[in-house]
């Protein structure tokens, strides 16, 4: 059986997303966000990465259930 790259990739980005969202929540209102013009970019982009990772996992699972 071949490894579907979408699975490890999806998990990796989902992990990145979770870590960044968690860190974004913890560090909200911290002066570090002056760099990103007052935007809590960790929180926002962490969420984007979670969605991206989740989508990859979804498609990988879908492909796994339906053998070629």
């Amino acid at each position: 059986m071949n490894l579907d790259i979408r699975m490890p990739m999806g998990i990796m980005f989902a992990v990145f997303g979770v870590v960044l969202v968690g860190w974004g929540l913890v560090s909200a209102n911290d002066p570090i966000y002056q760099r990103s013009l007052g935007i809590n970019i960790n929180l926002i982009w962490g969420a984007v990465l979670m969605v991206f990772g989740g989508t990859m996992i979804f498609f990988a699972r879908k492909a796994m259930k339906k053998p070629l």
Binding site: L3, V19, W23, G24, R35, S36, I41, W45
Partner: protein, 597 residues
Amino acid sequence: MRIELGVIDYVLLCVYFLFVIGIGVVLRRQMKTGADFFLSGRAIPAWICGLAFISANLGAQEVIGMAASGAKYGIMTSHFYWVGAIPAMVFVGVFMMPFYYGSKARSVPEYLKLRFDEKTRTFNALTFAVMTVFSSGISMYALARLFDLLLGWNFNFSILVSAVIVLVYIYLGGLTSAIYNEVLQFFLIVLGFLPLVIIGMKDVGGWHGLVAKLDVVAANNGFAAGTWTHSWTHTGTAGANPMGVEWFGLAMGLGFVLSFGYWCTDFLVVQRAMAANSMSAARRTPLIAAIPKMLFPALVILPGMIAIGMHAASNGEFLPKSADGSPDYNMVIPTMLGKYFPPGMLGLGLTALMASFMSGMAGNVTAFNTVWTYDIYQSHIKPGQSDAHYLKVGHIVTVVGILLSVACAYAASQFNNIMDMLQLVFGFVNAPLFATFLLGMFWKRTTGHGAFWGLVAGTGAAAIHHGLTLSKETLAGAAHVLNTTLPADLTTISADILHKAAGIKGGWLCAGNAVHIYPVDMAQNFWAAIFAWSMCFVATIVISVITKRTKTDKELAGLVYSLTPRIVDHHEPWYKRPAVLGVVVLVVAVILNAIFW
């Protein structure tokens, strides 16, 4: 400049390393034969091959170099994409892939063996092998230097870490590992740099703010307003734009010779398409790659434009300065990451950068081990061995390739713009090569002797051109070192300056004076490529005509256009037909050129 990394940033970096190694470990079980290791068993879907195709080219030279060029030359840098990549990518997919994939050659040099003869293959294999090790070494060097400067990591430590990780994942998973990691890197670059560009654009005041600031940059450098934000308008003469090239040198040198030489013949990228699971997938690989490639200027060039705009608007306080007081263009991306990303996103951005360095190395190493094993070892050193034997050799060569790259990394430190250096190497080796393939694939009369001596002549022409010419940029640098200035009339240049300038940047064949002085290095490289290509093209034709054909029409079936049955794909949906995709891609490229004209 220094960037302080937080714990969170190291966490992200380590997560990435874990996944990279993990993918190699899982793939290890799939690596049973030489074909698995070197060719991914020809089982990779088109979209993965496509993303790997473009990522293999998206190494250090791309991300750092293109952002540097974006600051130095503005939006004209997009010519490396819209002119210098897209047409060639369409061409290789639609016209050349049927012969590469269809011939069942395992490498580009092997195609040359099938089409011409052993000596042509060996010439290509050897020059290519040297070039890949060199490129891999440059990636490693750039990574180590940057992380030393930026994070205070020990130079030797960075070399060791990157070399070991790349070694482990290629050793375990072969080409598949490299391809998978390239896909990972593709998304890391896109998802890591997109927020950087968004924040940067917001800070610079949107597109209008950027244009206004870049007009100041243009004025400061003595060019007309809009020079940094128009790609073609100021290419009427070489002196009117910062790149120092006029439209003909640009279109012919970059758009035709260099670009086709690279995208159509460089095994590093072609190998990704050869791993595809069908002829149709192989042909679509470069076309799928062309779509993100067209949009990459927004990710890699725009940061450079934003940075130089902010630099001018802040009285030179944005970018760090190099020794002579000019902005240090190679620091564009690191500066932007440090200024706009808080801890957290910073880790993601650096991971993306790390990934692009490592996959730049990995791509070269996988191409190197294939060419070495099949085209040099199997054909000259030990033919007729078992598949298991060559697989073992492939593993050993992977280790050797990494060690050689490490040696090159320590040796590489001359050029200020990595891109210019790679262009120079491509000028010598790759530019004439496209003439050989063009004639080989589309003119059945081309002979082995013609191809070989044509290549030698073309490479020689590039070297001689390089030896006889210099750029004003190089001369000015040499004059600066000698504490003097260049005379207004460059024909009266002193022997001292000329002597000082001669070397890796050209002029080493000049006795009294350089035969021609180009305004900048890049123009010199473009014209070197044009000369090399023309020389090879003419020499190959002339020698082919006066030598005998050694291959019959039957032997050339599947290798030459006129002797190969046309591929019928009318039954496929339109989005799977290479010709249709190719036209769509070209139309979009023309529109992009028109928008930023």
